[in-house]
């Protein structure tokens, strides 16, 4: 059983709009990892609107904030681009954010929709990463193509592509090793993997999914920016939202970088993956504490 501590905005109900209200709201937004810049922007917006529309009650102000957040996030909505056959989904991210787990969950969902899915064990670096993905492939009931630990990931991807060609599968999902966005050599490795995919399947990968951990603070912006610079990230999967972190950083990322958020991870089990729903996400932030 888990207890969930919401943003605690219930304390804002039925109050007058005054300076302390703005200050407390600022605190709440920063505590949700929305980040200093975006928070100040939002508070400025609220101040101006409150003045303009002569808003006196905090309830109205909260509704205004909610509406604004929904509007911001609804611009970062996007569906999965897997219309081509075959489609390739390349999964990237820094260490330990949940790439391999998300792939396992996603494979299961796509398989249940009737797609023939294959996984490529492109993390040949981390100890037992291949075996970890193998377990997920088995759980999802999909095929996996792997190489030896320590071999070139691009070679594994090449093998996986040949296998997809031979068997006529619909979707290939490529796992990759965790890589920090400030490490040039590792970031450039992405080009090599992408080149192999594009050469064999023109126009692919149609989806380049960046996995972000909801527990991450301001550094997530730096991650998103660096990955976007090195390659065309088409979407974000936000994991570990089952913790207490609010993942407010996606608001800033959406605002600054306009990368669609596509999936959210809400646990370690295979069914714990949802489509990102801006409305639900914002309602979650405003959720009153539950038993």
């Amino acid at each position: 059983k888990k207890t969930r501590d919401a943003l605690g905005l219930s304390a804002f109900k039925g109050r007058e709009v005054d300076e302390s209200l703005f200050e407390e709201l600022e605190e709440k937004l920063i505590l949700a990892d929305v980040g200093v810049n975006t928070t100040l922007e939002l508070i400025d917006y609220l101040r101006n609107e409150a003045k303009k529309r002569k808003i006196k009650s905090s309830d109205q102000l909260l509704e205004l904030l909610k509406g604004k957040l929904k509007e911001m996030l609804s611009k970062c909505r996007g569906s999965f681009n897997i219309s081509e056959k075959p489609s390739v989904i390349l999964v990237l991210g820094v260490n330990g954010v949940g790439k391999t787990t998300t792939i396992g969950k996603l494979a299961k969902q796509l398989k249940e929709k009737g797609y023939c899915v294959v996984l490529a064990a492109g993390d040949t670096f981390r100890a037992a990463a291949i075996e970890q993905l193998e377990v997920w492939a088995e759980r999802a009931g999909v095929r996996i193509i792997k190489g030896q630990e320590g071999t070139d990931p691009a070679a594994v991807v090449f093998d996986a592509i040949q296998s997809v060609k031979a068997k006529g599968d619909d979707i290939l999902i490529v796992d990759t090793a965790g890589r920090l966005h400030n490490k040039d050599r590792l970031m450039k490795e992405i080009h090599k993997i992408k080149k192999v995919i594009g050469r064999e399947f023109p126009g692919q990968p149609a989806e380049i999914l960046l996995v972000l951990d909801a527990n991450t603070g301001q550094n997530a912006i730096s991650q998103a920016r660096a990955f976007k610079e090195i390659t065309d990230v088409t979407g974000i999967a936000l994991t570990k939202l089952d913790g207490t972190a609010k993942g407010g950083i996606v608001i800033a990322i959406c605002n600054d970088l306009k990368i669609p958020i596509k999936l959210v991870g809400i646990g370690e089990k295979i069914e714990d993956l949802r489509k990102f729903d801006p409305k639900e996400f914002v309602e979650g932030l405003f959720e009153v504490e539950k038993e």
């Binding site: 888990k2 260490n95 075996e131 377990v135």
Partner: protein
């Protein structure tokens, strides 16, 4: 790497500097910028507020040093306070038992398994006979991951791959460590949420079973505002004697160090600085303080004056 932060604090310095002395008004202005900078470094909001309050008292009372720009002096005060809060000197492991036991706990993906291997190797280099064990019965291939790392560094790994009871594995590992007179047993655990009652209870039972000399809480240096709640929950519900900060090779400012130290009071003992086994070092509070502020140069400038 720290340009954005450095610029902010620099502009704060200029604002205060023009007046030539630290009075209340300039202090307020400067501290506001420093507050924002700390928040951008992911120091928890409440920790920042308390920290700023303390600084204000110290800075207002401080005599202005001759030949030093009061702005620089303020930054020096902030830096010193940060170093102090972060723990001054790097703290060593406190291992007394025979065998001594080190238990690693933390959230999913924080770096526990990697740290277990790094720590074991670090102790082996000091001439200790080390046994590793994994009681992670949940994550796919978790035990194999530790086994492979152990093989890489020539350290035995005790595993019961079929066993589903983590507490039982911990107990058996300790027995083996005693029987074969190892100096240290390092216990890697499954990642768990700080709000998962069942798994917290499991961690507590493992701890009761192995009675660790050190329970190290492993946290990712890129963690945001929630770090205080996470650290506090692990400290209260399981208990910890120290902290390991991982992935410090990222470009994160590492404000989480101040947050977790501030809220638990427990020493940060090590930093993980890469994926390789050797990427592991003692935690240096002064370096991290400068990193949070991005102000290394100015601090040494004041030191010279």
């Amino acid at each position: 790497m720290f340009d954005a932060l450095a610029e902010k604090v620099q502009s704060a310095i200029e604002k205060i500097g023009r007046k030539g002395r630290i009075d209340e008004e300039t202090l307020e202005k400067g501290l506001r910028e420093i507050k924002l900078a700390l928040l951008e470094a992911d120091v928890n909001y409440r920790v920042v507020s308390n920290f700023i309050k303390d600084i204000k008292e110290k800075a207002l009372g401080a005599k202005v040093i001759k030949g030093v720009n009061p702005a620089q002096q303020l930054v020096k005060i902030v830096h010193d306070e940060l170093v102090q809060t972060l723990g001054g000197e790097a703290e060593k492991l406190n291992l007394k038992g025979k065998p001594s036991v080190i238990l690693l706990i933390g959230l999913q993906g924080s770096g526990k398994t990697t740290t277990a291997a790094k720590l074991a190797n670090y102790l082996k280099k000091q001439g200790k006979r080390v046994l590793l064990t994994s009681v992670d019965v949940y994550r796919p291939a978790a035990m194999l991951q530790l086994k492979k790392l152990g093989d890489q560094i020539g350290i035995p790994v005790f595993l019961e791959e079929k066993e589903k009871d983590a507490v039982k594995i911990a107990k058996d590992a300790l027995l083996k460590a005693k029987d074969e007179s190892y100096d240290v047993l390092v216990v890697d655990t499954a990642g768990r949420l700080h709000i998962d009652e069942e798994l917290l209870e499991e961690a507590r039972k493992i701890k009761e079973e192995v009675v660790p000399d050190e329970t190290l809480f492993v946290i990712d240096s890129m963690t945001g505002q929630e770090s205080v709640n996470i650290a506090k929950a692990f400290d209260e519900r399981v208990g910890m004697t120290g902290i390991v900060l991982t992935k410090m090779d990222s470009d994160a400012r590492g404000g989480v160090a101040l947050s977790v130290k501030g809220v638990t009071g427990k020493p940060i003992k090590f930093a993980g600085v890469g994926e390789k086994i050797d990427d592991f070092e003692p935690f240096y509070p002064d370096r991290v303080a400068s990193r949070i502020l991005g102000m290394g140069d100015i601090v040494s400038l004041v030191e010279k004056a």
